[in-house]
Every structure is written in structure tokens, then in C-alpha cells.
């Protein structure tokens, strides 16, 4: 029995900016309903990798495949249309807009015809609120309220609910819990699990090992633009993962280098 192709796969992806090589031979696979946690310290190349997946950059070499099919995008909208949704660290939701308008920015529902198409506020609000409540956030009940009044965790959840609603197959989350407190982070992680349950492939980028271990099925550690380690849940302990992220040195070696 053959396995279905992974939802998203990178094969030997390289990315350089002029003389600077940022990504080296990245190969990753994420299956349906799985969460891949991409761990790495700052400067490891995470944001370039995300931007390449999101369609902001084109790989210098290598392939990106969706359901086994080669992809090529010219701009972020292409990636979105194919079903790769990226939720960035800070917003991407518009704080001064209402929840309904923010949810449907760019794809506003309209009623009427010709040049007199009117933005269907009632429908937009109704759908947005329902989508968010389906994900377990019951506090939001009025689509006219401003996004800026939501907590950080709620805004991330809104962004994720939006991505799922518009048919995302792959969800790339860029440090979603970085700026959040414990309770809010738990909220977001719950929503990631919900997305998993709905069959999305999730790439969860973070430098917080605890959060990664809470939702991850599969882990990859990015060091200086290359995959330094690739393992499934349970194969490594928390300390081992933290060491890997810190550049492969164990805590002991680190202390020795500092001169303790």
C-alpha cells in the first residue's frame, strides 16, 4: 500500500541573495494532519525559509511540491491561492479594522451588481464570527468590534481561523507564541491542534522548545541555514533539543567556553 504524498515537501532547496548563501539543501516533508516544528535560533535562516514557502522569495535551486506536484510561485498571492497560508508573528490582521472587515480583506463579500456592489457587512461579520467561534473562541460575538481590542492570542487565532476558512492546506505559523503569555500561548496551541484535526499540514516555527513539544509530531532543527537534525516525536528529550538549537553544543561545553 503506497502512502499518500506529503501535503508539502521541500527537496534540496537552496536560497542565496547575491554572494550570501542563506539556505543550504533544505529537504522537509509534512503530511496531512501533522505538525512539523521548525526550531532554530535567531539568524538560522527561519524567516528566509518561511518567505520562500510563502512565495516572497523564489528558491535559487531545488523544488517545492504540493501533493507531489512541482510548484512555482511569483508572488505571495500565488502561494495563498494554492493553499499555503502564512500567519506572521505580528498581526497580518489589521488592528484598526473591524473583525469582519479584517477577516475578509481582499476578498470582501458583496451584494448588488455592477459598479454598485456593496460590501455585505452583515454576512461578513456573521461568517467571521462563526469561523472564529468554531475554533473555540467564544468571547468574540460582534464582528463590528475592532481587531485591536482583541488579545494577542485572540488575534493569532483570528488569523489562523481565517487561513483555515479560506481553504488553506498548509498553515505556516511564524513564531505565533513568541510575544504571548502562558495562558494566551496555550490558547493558540489548542487552535493549532484543532487545525491539525481538520487535516491541515502545519509548519510551526518557534524557538520555544516547550511549545514545540506540546504540538509537534515531527521536528527539524535549523542551524546556519541547514537542517542539523530531523526526528520524530519521542526520539529526543527536551534537553537534547535545546542543546541542538543552541548550535549543537551541550550546556557543559557552553559553560566551558564562557570560562566557568
Amino acid at each position: 500500500m503506497s502512502q499518500p504524498a506529503p501535503v508539502i515537501e521541500l527537496r534540496d532547496v537552496n536560497k542565496s541573495f547575491g554572494p550570501i548563501d542563506v539556505l543550504h539543501d533544505i529537504s522537509l516533508k509534512v503530511n496531512k494532519g501533522e505538525v512539523l516544528c521548525l526550531l532554530g535560533d535567531n539568524g538560522a535562516g527561519k524567516s528566509t525559509l518561511i518567505k520562500t514557502l510563502a512565495g516572497v522569495h523564489k528558491p535559487t535551486s531545488g523544488e517545492i511540491l504540493l501533493d507531489g506536484n512541482r510548484l512555482s510561485f511569483d508572488r505571495p498571492k500565488d502561494a495563498q491561492d494554492i493553499g499555503i497560508a502564512t500567519v506572521h508573528q505580528f498581526g497580518g490582521t489589521f488592528p484598526l479594522m473591524s473583525i469582519g472587515r479584517s477577516f475578509f480583506a481582499g476578498v470582501e463579500p458583496t451584494k448588488g451588481f455592477g459598479p454598485f456592489k456593496v460590501y455585505d457587512r452583515a454576512r461578513a461579520n456573521q461568517i467571521a464570527v462563526k469561523a472564529v467561534q468554531d475554533f473555540g473562541i467564544t468571547r468574540i460575538d460582534d464582528g463590528d468590534r475592532l481587531v485591536g481590542g482583541l488579545s494577542g492570542g485572540e488575534r493569532q487565532s483570528l488569523a489562523i481561523a481565517r487561513a483555515v476558512h479560506f481553504g488553506a492546506r498548509v498553515l505556516i505559523l511564524d513564531e505565533p507564541t513568541a510575544a504571548l503569555g502562558v495562558k494566551q500561548a496555550a490558547h493558540v496551541l489548542r487552535i493549532v491542534n484543532e487545525a491539525k484535526k481538520r487535516g491541515l499540514a502545519v509548519i510551526f516555527i518557534t524557538h520555544q522548545v516547550m511549545h514545540a513539544m506540546a504540538v509537534g509530531d515531527h521536528f527539524a532543527v535549523l542551524i546556519r541555514g541547514a537542517i542539523a537534525a530531523d526526528f520524530r516525536k519521542g526520539e529526543k528529550s527536551r534537553e537534547e533539543i535545546a542543546d541542538l538549537m543552541a548550535g549543537g553544543e551541550s550546556m557543559a561545553e557552553l559553560e566551558a567556553n564562557i570560562g566557568n
Binding site: 489589521f94 456593496v118 475592532l146 481590542g149
Partner: protein
Amino acid sequence: MHLIAPLLRRPAAAAVLSLFGILIFYVVFGGVNLGTLAGAASWLNFAANLGIVAIPVGLLMISGEIDISIGAMIPAGSMTTAIISGYYELPIFFGMLGAIGVGVIVGTINGLLAIRTTVPSLIITLGTLVAMQGIILSASKLLTGEASVAITAPDWSKFIFGQLIGGSHQVIIVWWVAIAAIFWFVAHQSRYGNWIFAMGGDRESARNAGIPVDRMTIILFILTATSASFVGMCQAILFNSAQVSGGMNIIFNVIVSVVVGGVILTGGFGSVIGIVIGTLTFAIVSQGIYFTQIDRNWSNLIIGAMLLIAVLMNDTFRKLATIGSLSKK
């Protein structure tokens, strides 16, 4: 309280309060007769000329950019009309086309520079402002030898663009109302309006959401420049002449009207109704003072104070709007 809160959250809230504040101030301290004020045309004419430019500039600011070249575009519009149809005596249609055309060209240049370079729009439009001032003056001297040109427009064009209704009210007031209605529809009822707010909120996210950010930016810059040249054109037709100077004050007048009206400088928030009310408020402060016993030399002081108070109110209301989004647990 529950009825008032949603009203205060609207961008126009502070503008309405400012308007009432000024009226009350002028009545109590200036002894103005509201009836006389209402019937007078001076402030309404002033408001219309200012307002037609303020609305697209306000929308441009909501989208996250700014355009100060409008200060040169009004005389550009009036001079183009006057030179083509007054000095060269071509049919008025060509003069009008020229005025609009100049607006489209300058707006396109502004827009292209804004999207193709990383130069902030304040600096770009400062450059075009200065350059246009030079171009208008040198073109005028080159072609006509004068700094002011006379024009006598045919009756039909005067009827549409330059007549005085009842001998006092400029017909541009009707244009202002019509333009305000159209822009209100686009900004608040159509999808394009949502796009403008999205661009101002987070340009990159808007682009990623598929909104044609570059195209919208150019269109908005064309609208600001053209609305200014349109006002200039109407002035030339109404007053039968055009001058090179004038128009510099309007830059700050527009910004004040727009900001009092609830638009925030950093973009993403505001409303057309707010801009209209902000314009009315500015016009009443600036021109209504003549109907009071207050010495008109103090008008700028009142404008300055009003601007700061209105902006503080806007700020407070907006914070309330975001906090107020939290419903009871």
C-alpha cells in the same frame, strides 16, 4: 451610556464635537447670530473649495501616504484652464481637459515614485510641489508673459462650474456634496474602500491578501492631484482669471480638516463623513469669525487650539474603541 459608546467609537465623533464646540464658543464669546451664519455663503464656499481636495487627500492618508503637492495643483489647474481657453482662446472643453490632464500626469508621477522607490511620500510630494511651482510660473511667463491670465468662459461652463447660486453660493458646493457622496460610497460601502483601509493598516499584509496595492496607490495620488486641479479649474471659470500664486495655505488647511475629521496620520482609520465635518468645522472657524465680535486676527490661534483638542479627543475615543471591543467575560 451604551447608546453613546458606539457613537464615540466612530471616527467622526471628535469632529462632530469640535463643530458643536466651535459653534458654542462663537455664540457665547463672539455673540454670533446662528441664523445669519447659516445663511451666509462665505464659509460654505470656502468649505467646498477646501473639501473637494480634503476628501481624496484624507483617503490617501488613510491608505498610509500623504500628498502636499496639492498646494501647487490648484494654481496649476486654474492656470492651465486660463492659458488654454483664455490666452489661446481654444474652446473651454480643451481648457478643462488640460486642467484634469495636468492632475492626472502629476498624480501618476507621484504615485509611480511612491511605489517604485523607498522615498517617503512626504518627501516625494515636497519635491513635486516645489517643481510644479516653478513649472507653473515659468510656463506662464514663457507663454503669456504674465503671472496672471484672464479667461471668459462660455455660459454653459459657467453654469456647471462657475455660477453663483442666488448670487452668493458657488455652484462648487453642489459638486462637493456629489463628490462626498461618491467617495462615501466607495470608501465605506464598496470593496475598494476596505482595500484602502487595509493598505493603511498593514501594507504588506494587504498585498499578501491579494489587494492591488500599487495600482490603488497610483489611483489615489491621481485623485488627489486631479481634485486640486479641478478646484483650480472651477475657480478660473468663476472668477474669470487665474493667478500663479496662492494655494500654499491649503496644504495645512487640508491636513487640519482631515485630522480633525478623525483620520490618523499613520493610516488605517478615518471616515469620509468625518472629513466633511472636519472641513465644515475648519471653514466655520476660519470664516465664521467675521460674524463674531472676536478680532479676526485671532482665527489662527483658535485653529491651532482646535486642532490639538480635536486630535486629543480622537486619540481618546480611538483607545476607547479598541478597549471597548472586549465584551463581558
